[in-house]
């Protein structure tokens, strides 16, 4: 600073010291938090689902529970499908996940052919289907991949079918003209995803017959498919909804006392 400062030196010092670098960083962090909170609030405004882990026993009716279950299954399905597609070289944008839109096949289709910047290189084989993995020689390093959740190695999960030959039946037409095994597997996954998305839509519209038809079609074509778990979950939901409420003690109770204060305890105790 000037050893004989005048007014302008004082003002320059003030400009430099107020509010200071610490306030800049602190406010930026707070701003990012607020923006994230705003985005979360806006997204969840359309849903009644509580955050994960929050107790939902206070719900007086069955409808919100069913919606939660559907959403949870849908999200699981979406995450599994996204992870599988990322392994196969297709990345579904984070936006879909952040907006809580379950990525439908339309979204996957959009991400695949028309968004070349989202196509990621095939990863080194980590699954139990090494024969279907073909790594291009010129694949860029992993650092070029867009940020996102770490893909889950599908066949590492014990819940998945251990059968490495669980490729789909040839009845499902393939989208790609390429005769490679990898392309066939990707198309099979796409077909599985499409069928389950159809079932989910039908469930959301309370069209149980259509949902069941889609699930049965999936079971016929992909009996040990990658999305078998999701199919079984949807089947369970359909069966539960098809069963008359009076077929179980809890159902009879809720039929008679739909708003009972004992409802949460009964619901918790009668969960499978």
């Amino acid at each position: 600073m000037n050893p004989h400062p005048d007014g302008s030196d004082y003002l320059a010092a003030f400009r430099r010291e107020r509010p200071g670098a610490y306030a800049r960083r602190r406010n930026w962090r707070a701003l990012k938090r607020r923006i994230a909170m705003t985005a979360t609030t806006a997204t969840t405004a359309d849903h009644v689902d509580p955050p994960d882990g929050e107790d939902d026993e206070g719900s007086p009716s069955d409808a919100p529970d069913l919606r939660r279950l559907l959403t949870a299954v849908g999200l699981t399905f979406a995450i599994a499908a996204s992870a599988l597609l990322m392994i196969r070289g297709v990345s579904v944008g984070l936006t879909a996940t952040r907006d809580h839109h379950v990525p439908t096949m339309e979204a996957v289709d959009q991400a695949r052919p028309s968004s070349p910047h989202r196509v990621t290189p095939a990863r080194p084989a980590r699954s139990a289907r090494p024969s279907t993995q073909t790594l291009p020689e010129s694949s860029p390093p992993e650092i070029d991949r867009p940020p996102g959740p770490t893909p889950i190695p599908v066949t590492a999960s014990p819940r998945r079918s251990p059968d490495p030959n669980a490729t789909p039946a040839p009845a499902e037409p393939t989208r790609s003209a390429s005769p490679t095994t990898g392309a066939v597997t990707t198309d099979a996954l796409a077909a599985e995803t499409r069928l389950l998305a159809e079932a989910r839509r039908a469930l959301a519209e309370d069209d149980l017959a259509a949902a069941l038809a889609a699930l049965q079609q999936h079971a016929r074509k992909f009996p040990t498919g990658a999305l078998q778990e999701e199919r079984l979950a949807y089947e369970a939901i359909v069966r539960c909804r098809q069963a008359p409420p009076s077929s179980t003690p809890a159902g009879r109770f809720f039929e008679r006392y739909p708003s009972s204060p004992h409802g949460p305890r009964v619901r918790a105790a009668c969960r499978p």
């Binding site: 600073m1 400062p5 005048d6 007014g7 030196d9 004082y10 003002l11 010092a13 003030f14 400009r15 430099r16 010291e17 107020r18 509010p19 670098a21 306030a23 800049r24 960083r25 602190r26 406010n27 930026w28 707070a30 701003l31 990012k32 607020r34 923006i35 705003t38």
Partner: protein
Amino acid sequence: MAGTVLAARPVALPMSAGLDLAAVYRMHHDLVWRSLRALGVDAAMADDATQDVFMVVHRRLHDYDGTTPVRRWVLGIARNVAFKYRERSLRSAARVRPLDGEDERAPAPLTVVDDPAEDVIARREAAAVVERFVERLDPNKRAVFMLCEIEGFSAPEVSAALGIKLNTVYSRLRVAREKFEQAIARHQATTRRKARAP
């Protein structure tokens, strides 16, 4: 330094006219903070108000058409936010008034322990002198003085931003400058006196 931090951690934020929130923040955070203080926002609320301004910027960045300089656009938002804060402050029953003579207090003791450079100490002392001066200035003159002298807005810009006549801006600015020169002179005289004292 803050710029490096922000650049290293980009966030997905909207862009308009080649701008994104991080860039606007980097360039105009200090201006917003000081302008809010100039417009009467308490120091304790300045951070919250600053974040409010940038939340508005975040929401409206898509609408920014580039016809107005960004700093003037941001100042307009800051003015509206400051107005709300002032109203809230006036309505607040728990508003704390300074005790008699408290505004005459000396600036807070400097706690420079990590950087003992004399230059930094001198700069912080100088900043504290200015801060004391603007806190004691009449609010109307303070807004004009800070926006013109510290932020570098022209008198017509300040006139438009504050909704006052141009001549009023000039007269307030002239008075505030005179008071500022007197305050600096007093401070320097005191410093010299202390330096001569055994």
